[in-house]
């Protein structure tokens, strides 16, 4: 595929075709890794199953928002999947820098915007697979959307947006370091963000003041709560808007910074 783009046989290929080719390549690079399926799809579902049973007693706590632990815990599942997927897509970008693929792209009539957008499309496509997987698994375990299928577009939109937000943060480190190994250092950072959040306990019930403050400042808390609101309370405008707005700001800002770095990278060659 890359030869087609560079050799000129596809010179004049339309924008959609370029996005498709590059996006397909980025998606294939991740989706054909067994680790992608295990870490970004299977692991979150396994931990959902574990957390449902392990945290079942929490529903007895005063002011716990729901009796249905599956509906409570599923927010973590979506974010866990997004975090793992984000690291993998970012690592793939870094590897493309390491192995010289970006040098070849720089010689082709392909803009930095095309490179970035195609990768974001790949992230979004993978996110759709994750949404289907997690929604079905959640339904099997007893988590159901409060207002039914009418909430599906919101669920899909939020999940895709959160995946994009996390991926563009990863793209920053990938473009900065140009190293797959360094980019994988994102995993522990994202792991901290996931654990030090309201993923496992509502913020209103947290006893430790420092943890409560950290969760308040953590954007992942709002993303988890946005997803969770669809399963626990139904249309909660404040939760949905907060999660979506934070993710949108991160996505836009991250994309702009990534675009600047990509342009500089491609211009060097």
């Amino acid at each position: 595929m890359s030869a087609e783009l560079v050799s000129g046989r596809r010179r004049g290929a339309g924008a959609f075709e370029r996005y498709g080719l590059l996006g397909e390549r980025a998606l294939r690079a991740v989706a054909t890794e067994p680790a992608a399926w295990v870490l970004a799809l299977v692991f979150p579902v396994v931990f959902l199953a574990i957390n449902i049973e392990a945290l079942s007693g929490a529903s007895a706590l005063h002011d716990f928002p729901t009796d249905n632990i599956a509906s409570f815990a599923i927010g973590l599942t979506f974010l866990q999947g997004a975090l793992f997927a984000g690291v993998m897509f970012a690592t793939d970008l870094a590897r493309d820098i390491e192995n010289g693929f970006m040098n070849r792209i720089a010689l082709a009539p392909i803009s930095a915007g095309t490179v970035l957008l195609s990768r974001l499309l790949a992230v979004a496509a993978f996110a759709l697979v994750q949404v289907a997987c997690f929604a079905i698994a959640g339904a099997i375990f007893g988590a159901s959307l409060v207002d039914g299928p009418i909430e599906l577009p919101a669920l899909i939109g939020l999940a895709v947006l959160f995946n994009l937000a996390i991926a563009v943060v990863g793209f920053q480190l990938a473009l900065q370091s140009g190293s797959g190994e360094m980019t994988q250092a994102l995993f522990p950072i994202f792991f901290v963000l996931l654990l030090v959040s309201s993923a496992l306990m509502p913020r209103g019930l947290m006893d430790a003041a420092w943890f409560h403050a950290a969760a308040d400042l953590n954007p992942v808390s709002y993303m988890v709560e946005a997803i969770r609101s669809l399963y626990v309370t139904g249309w909660d405008a404040s939760a949905l808007v907060a999660g979506a707005a934070i993710a949108l700001v991160i996505t836009v800002a991250g994309s702009l910074f990534s675009l600047v770095r990509l342009r500089a990278l491609l211009a060097r060659h």
Partner: protein, 257 residues
């Protein structure tokens, strides 16, 4: 290397320990997960202590610490397995396999590295936990028991990870090393006591030997006197089985050169 008894193992242990302590990144990553879990579980899940039937007088932080200190031991073994895989990626392993007369001592050496890493990590995690308010009522015999649990878990996780690394001979096997260990650990009473688990998890946790190890650790930390014979029986059996697993992997790796 290796003229004196256990010379190879001690040489490997010196090499691995030196590589670890001279690399701040390696030290940090060994400590990272246990400390994060301690902070996240003790800080975020404290309200679970109020769940009716939560019977652990020493408090939720100590309850969590009983798991986290064992997790530190397991991670010491996992990261040592990564070192084995890296040795293959860098070509060092082939020289070790060719040069070592008593190859089984290579495994022993890696286990010694993991034990040292795990003890150091557990000491640091304990210091942080105590500074953060964990209160444990432990006798000298209890401390010895906890140390023995740490050593055994470090050895077991190393033997598993070594077996995987020796067969795969690449860092790409990393997920295969840590995923089963993480699953075994989380299919046990992590957040709440076993009595508060429900459904299929309660059944699996009941059959999971690691549950016994965690509950023994928590009991010792709470000043209790658990039956450690069963606990160490499980650990001994696991060590023997996984030792065979690692040695068979070593033979396979040696035959490939």
């Amino acid at each position: 290397m290796g003229g004196s008894p256990f010379g190879i193992a001690l040489g490997m242990a010196r090499r691995g320990t030196k590589a670890w302590i001279t690399s701040p990144a390696f030290v940090a990553i060994t400590l990272f997960f246990p400390l994060i879990f301690l902070a996240a579980l003790a800080g975020g899940l404290g309200p679970l202590y109020r769940v009716p039937g939560f019977d652990y007088p020493s408090g939720y932080s100590t309850f969590v610490f009983g798991f986290v200190v064992l997790q530190a031991a397991a991670f010491g073994g996992i990261f040592t397995g990564y070192s084995v895989a890296r040795d293959f990626d860098l070509g060092v392993a082939s020289r070790l396999l060719l040069g070592a007369g008593r190859r089984w001592e290579l495994i022993l050496g890696y286990v010694l590295v993991a034990v040292i890493r795990s003890l150091v990590a557990a000491a640091i995690v304990t210091a942080v936990a105590l500074a953060a308010g964990v209160r444990a009522t432990v006798s000298p015999a209890g401390i010895a028991a906890i140390l023995a649990l740490i050593v055994c878990l470090a050895a077991i996780s190393t033997l598993w990870a070594c077996g995987v690394a020796l067969r795969a001979r690449s860092m790409r096997a990393g997920p295969l090393m840590h995923t089963p260990i993480l699953l075994v650990m989380f299919l046990s009473p992590v957040y709440v006591p076993a009595a508060l688990l429900n459904g299929w998890l309660a059944s699996i946790a009941g059959a999971n030997p690691f549950s016994n190890v965690v509950e023994s650790s928590r009991s010792v930390l709470g000043g209790g006197n658990p039956d450690l014979l069963i606990t160490f029986g499980w650990l001994f059996a696991a060590t023997v089985l996984l030792g065979i697993w690692a040695l068979l992997g070593l033979r396979r790796a040696a035959e490939s050169y």
